[in-house]
């Protein structure tokens, strides 16, 4: 087994009396899809936030490509090639898909126009269109505010943005929650394609069939602690459900 690209050891994070993460271990490998499953409130989103620089941890260590790092800002994670689709998407509703895609990473004009702070909107639009098409995303207008679009379209935009910028790790926190059958299929295909590029994909979902379909590895979270880390070929839905609810235990970390 290769070394994990991103690894968390013994991390904890409490919100008041709630121990959202409790001495948790977690690791993801390049070119693999790691499913992260667990009941509502198990700490999945909290873990994603902690590993994407959006949330400070109380204790524990995070290692990136073998080196211990302190993740304090999302930009730091971005600079390492770690991108995230948060459960709430984190898009700016009044901005259009292209502006959202490039927010914080604008392509500036060259020369005097760039000096005055103008952006190369054409180049950004072209590249965004390509990214959406690659995803098979039905983004109907590149110039309408994303807030006026359907949940599915917004989700597609958020996923396209993460996939476009990531080159090491992508976190997808319930990316198919608002999607119909066809778009879900697109997302699952995208996950495989991203994985085949050698990127580590962390896929959070409540749909066991989807988890079984795309995952290489499955990590089960329960009450902020890892209940199991399994090879996807080596388990089944009943077992996963049992582990999530605490009805059974196996292969605990």
């Amino acid at each position: 087994m290769s070394t994990p690209v991103l690894e968390a050891r013994g991390i904890s994070r409490a919100f008041g009396h709630v121990r959202a993460l409790d001495d948790l271990d977690f690791e993801v490998y390049p070119g693999e899809v790691t499913a992260l499953i667990g009941d509502n409130g198990a700490g999945k989103s909290t873990l994603v936030k902690a590993l994407s620089g959006n949330l400070a941890i109380d204790t524990g260590t995070i290692t990136f490509e073998g080196e211990e790092i302190q993740l304090t800002t999302p930009m730091q994670a971005s600079a390492l090639g770690i991108e995230t689709v948060h459960q709430d998407l984190a898009l700016a509703p009044h901005l259009d898909p292209v502006q959202n895609m490039y927010l914080g990473r604008e392509v500036m004009n060259k020369g005097i126009a760039g000096f005055f702070g103008t952006m190369n909107t054409k180049a950004m639009a072209k590249e965004s269109r390509r990214a959406f098409d690659e995803l098979g995303a039905t983004v109907r207008s590149l110039t309408s505010p994303v807030g006026s679009m359907s949940g599915g379209q917004r989700q597609a935009i958020a996923i396209a943005r993460a996939v476009h910028w990531a080159n090491k790790v992508v976190f997808l926190d319930e990316p198919t929650a608002a999607l119909g059958v066809r778009q879900t299929k697109n997302v699952l295909e995208t996950i495989r394609r991203v994985r085949d590029k050698g990127i580590a994909v962390v896929f959070i979902s409540h749909s066991m069939p989807h988890v079984m379909e795309v995952s290489d590895r499955i990590q089960v979270l329960r009450l902020g602690h890892r209940a199991a880390s399994l090879d996807a070929k080596d388990t089944n839905m009943e077992e996963l459900v049992g582990l999530m609810t605490g009805a059974s235990t196996r292969g605990a970390a």
Partner: protein, 374 residues
């Protein structure tokens, strides 16, 4: 934290909750880019309010063709709106970040007072002392703006409270340092040029200055990264933060800019009226905010234009002027502007509600639809 949640709720109300599972419908296959950009302009609230302005102008022109519809009268209206125009640019940026600046009128007065005192101390009537005065006014305004911005972004005090506080502080300090007595010594180069000078055979210099500020403001807001970040922060501060937009620093810049523009307005006012007019700006903040809101900028942030603000300035200005000319009691202007303001916010609500459904945002179509329904 709870504030963030509330913000999110507002945004959610604006665009509707997460739309439910998307059904695979036939129009999913329609993936074309909306072809023309023109129709969108017509749907913009700024454009609709522009039509309202045109209608008002036409009505007064018919009622008073020999007095209202004269170039000299137009010139007067434009000249009187110039100072508010300068303030409106800064206010538009601030309201787009979903903030507010109540302090502009007081900062205008404070900057004018400090500038006038410095110029009086330096002495003289030429451009040398005037330049010093201009720089002092802008610096004083900038300082207040940065003070506002720091408290809002770093100390997390709501903009309404911070700028209400600085409104009182700036005005109070202006009164303390002058003993409450207006300074009436203003270098004559200022009054004769900026004050009542003209260029190109009759265009007031003060209006040219305002126009330059407005054009630069529109360029920065609509064409640059700085402008984009202004919208992004107003739209979703969280989304902006997560992609690395330095939100705090940007807010300080935006409030700083508004303050600096109030300083510019302070010099313009000093030049136009040859006095610090300490008591004369108590309504300025509300007038500017009204103009910005009438122009379609959303008080909830994320949406607005400089063009709209300019149109929003001229509606009260034209009403005032037209009422005086046609012999209507000018107090009616306040009534009319109040009504327009409420209507503008109502239209913004409708727009935001329909944005959630992705439906039409046209005011006209909305009223038409209402009538059919009821």
């Amino acid at each position: 934290m709870s504030d963030d949640v509330r913000e999110d709720d507002i945004k959610k109300a604006e665009f509707g909750p997460e739309a439910g599972p998307e059904t695979i419908s036939i129009n999913m296959a329609v993936e074309r880019e909306s072809k023309s950009r023109v129709p969108r302009i017509f749907k913009a609230q700024a454009f609709q309010i522009f039509i309202v302005l045109i209608v008002i102008v036409i009505i007064f022109s018919i009622m008073a063709p020999n007095t209202f519809a004269q170039l000299s009268n137009l010139r007067l209206v434009v000249q009187n709106a110039s100072i508010l125009g300068v303030l409106g640019v800064g206010m538009t940026f601030i309201i787009i970040t979903s903030g507010i600046d109540l302090s502009v009128g007081s900062v205008l007065v404070f900057s004018g007072v400090v500038s006038a005192m410095v110029m009086r101390a330096v002495g003289g009537d030429g451009w040398g002392v005037a330049t010093i005065g201009i720089l002092v006014a802008i610096a004083s305004g900038l300082a207040w703006g940065i003070f506002n911005g720091l408290l809002i972004s770093k100390a997390k005090v709501p903009p309404l409270i911070v700028t209400l506080g600085s409104l009182g502080m700036a005005l109070g300090l202006a009164q303390i340092i002058t003993g409450g007595i207006d300074i009436r010594q203003v270098p004559s180069v200022l009054t004769s040029t900026i004050g009542y000078g003209n260029v190109l055979g009759g265009i007031p210099i003060i209006s040219v200055i305002a126009l330059v500020v407005i054009l630069i403001g529109a360029f920065v807001l609509h064409k640059t990264k700085f402008g984009l970040y202004t919208y992004a922060i107003g739209s979703s501060e969280e989304a902006a933060r997560r992609v690395g937009v330095k939100v705090d620093r940007h807010l300080i810049k935006v409030y700083g800019m508004s303050g600096a523009l109030a300083g510019v307005a302070g010099i313009l006012s000093l030049s136009q009226f040859s006095t610090t007019a300490i008591a004369g700006q108590s309504q300025t903040n509300l007038n500017v905010i009204a103009a910005v809101v009438i122009g379609g900028t959303s008080l909830f942030g994320g949406y607005g234009t400089i063009f709209g603000t300019v149109v929003g300035l001229f509606i009260p200005a034209v009403l005032q002027n037209g009422f005086v000319i046609t012999g209507v009691q000018p107090f009616w202007q306040q009534v009319a502007v109040g009504a327009v303001l409420i209507a503008a916010v109502y239209v913004d609500q409708v727009r935001r509600a329909s944005a959630a459904r992705g439906a039409s945002t046209s005011l006209w179509r909305h009223f038409f639809a209402r009538r059919k329904n009821t």
